[in-house]
């Protein structure tokens, strides 16, 4: 991985590859590749190798994207792979798309809802599932076609699960 190039301030209008580690960080406050991978590994119990094929990029303030290839940094284009993780805030937050794409391999912080709660969660509603694990952002899943499938992200606080499904993705099934 190369050092970041350019200015020491984040330019929200373009994609910059994340520095590999803090030693290579130039842009203030930018997450590193190691931090991003570690967050997913610690939060959801994924294998670190799950992300070997991906590069990570920041565009906008703290929005990290996962991309299956590599291009020159910075890149001034519309999108690189998918939005993956919201950083530059106290509690990092995974995206719905990332939890759907990578969350199937998660071994912890996955709450599996029954059918009625899964539908309510998809409508954007707060539910009250049995959960005695961590608080914070969880992968929310349900059983479908004989296996567990992640639906999106929930924020578990004060004994309730708040749906983080974006408005445009909510459905009344």
């Amino acid at each position: 991985m190369s050092r970041e190039n350019g200015s020491s301030r984040n330019d929200g209008g373009r994609f910059d590859r994340l520095p590999a580690t803090a030693d290579e960080r130039v842009v203030e406050g930018r997450a590193t590749r190691r931090e991003v991978v570690t967050w997913w590994v610690e939060r959801f119990g994924l294998e670190p190798a799950a992300f070997d094929g991906h590069t990570f990029w920041e565009k906008g303030a703290g929005k990290v994207w996962a991309f299956a290839a590599d291009v020159d940094s910075p890149a001034e284009i519309e999108a690189l792979g998918m939005t993956f993780l919201r950083t530059r805030q106290e509690h990092w937050k995974p995206t719905t798309d990332a939890v759907q794409r990578f969350g199937r391999a998660a071994t912890r912080n996955v709450v599996v809802l029954d059918d009625a709660d899964a539908r309510a969660f998809l409508r954007g509603e707060t539910t009250d599932p049995d959960w005695d694990g961590d608080w914070g952002y969880l992968a929310v899943a349900h059983e479908i076609a004989d296996d567990v499938e992640p639906i999106g992200v929930g924020l578990y606080l004060h004994g309730e699960l708040r749906s983080q499904v974006p408005k445009g993705r909510r459905r009344q099934l």
Binding site: S2, G53, H54, A66, F67, A68, A69, D70, V71, D72, A75, E76, I77, E78, A79, L80, G81, M82, T83, D97, Q100, R101, L122, I144, A145, D146, D147, E149, I151, G168, R169, R171, Q172, L173
Partner: protein
């Protein structure tokens, strides 16, 4: 005038052709291999009481019952399926990209073929998806993300003059590869699914015939020639370019191919298609084209009870 009447001389069975064009099309979904298998989607549909049947020629395409709205099913929410007309699933299979390749999709929005290409590549490699229309690009991005695609780089440019300087070559590929005239590492494959007069979608959208005019066909054919020519220029020697439209008009199909193979170092090659079809036409409206345009394939609505389609495979000279 009735634009479809123009094709009586080249359609073997004009009555069957016209009758098929007047029937509505069933709703079809393609299974997204990045997130699901046909078997799992089938079990989820069965459990939810969603009526469906496989199309026969492709185990990842399901025709849905008339009362089903695919957007309101769990498989759609999970990004397991994508609503895509049957014939629209053909060109990506003809291009047949491999994981790890560099692939260009210059007219990508709203993304049915882009997401299909990404799945064929196992979401590994570089898939550059471009569209000139920013509004349609947001649909492309939403569709790609729902399908779990991470290999796509989205650009917003005129496909006739694509600048690919963002894709100069990654640090992972240290070996020098031949570059295009503007110093860009070329693509292994390109899927050129151009904007067209869309006559082949008449079963879905009868209005296309109201908007049809000879001058529109002529104008758009010029754009199609330039887009295909540019894709050939940025594809490596020996690489593959697939050209497709959803129109029957030879002006937008064989005539475009005839011009591009004359002006660029590439040729039309033979390929197989899983559905009933006929060869391209080498003569139309007093014009004669290079005989190799017969290697292109025409799918009429009455052949397989689908929309209409045109597809050609080109190889860039080594």
């Amino acid at each position: 005038m009735d634009p479809l009447a123009r094709y009586d001389p080249i359609v073997a069975d004009p009555e069957a052709f016209r009758a098929a064009c007047e029937r509505p099309l069933p709703s079809v979904v393609r299974v997204n291999g990045i997130k699901a298998t046909p078997d799992r989607v089938a079990r989820a549909f069965e459990a939810a009481g969603v009526g469906f049947e496989p199309v026969g020629w492709h185990d990842g395409l399901f025709r849905l019952a008339d009362d089903v709205s695919p957007g309101n099913t769990w498989p759609f929410v999970h990004g397991w399926v994508y609503g895509q007309e049957e014939v629209s699933a053909l060109p990506a299979r003809v291009l047949d990209p491999d994981p790890g390749e560099r692939v260009l999709d210059p007219c990508a929005a709203p993304g049915s073929k882009t997401t299909q290409l990404a799945a064929l590549m196992d979401d590994e490699g570089l898939l550059v998806a471009n569209d000139s229309n920013l509004g349609r690009l947001s649909a492309l991005r939403a569709n790609a993300e729902r399908c779990g695609v991470t290999s796509v780089a989205v650009t917003n440019a005129d496909a006739r003059h694509l600048s690919l300087k963002s894709f100069g070559g990654s640090e992972r590929r240290s070996e020098a590869r031949r570059t295009t005239s503007d110093g860009v590492e070329p693509f292994d494959r390109a899927l050129v699914d151009v904007p067209c007069s869309c006559e082949g979608t008449v079963r879905k959208n009868p209005d296309v015939l109201e908007e049809w005019s000879p001058s529109h066909v002529e104008g758009i054919a010029g754009v199609q020639r330039d887009i295909l020519g540019r894709a050939v220029e940025v594809t490596r020697p020996g690489g593959t370019v697939v050209y497709s439209t959803c129109t029957f008009a030879p002006e937008e199909n064989e005539a475009v191919l005839d011009d591009v193979i004359a002006d660029h170092d590439c040729q039309l090659v033979e390929f197989d298609l899983d559905v009933e079809h006929v060869a391209g036409v080498a003569e139309w409206d007093g014009d004669r084209y290079d005989p190799s345009v017969r290697r292109a394939k025409r799918v009429y609505p009455h052949h397989n009870d689908t929309g209409g389609f045109f597809c050609a495979k080109l190889e860039v000279a080594a």
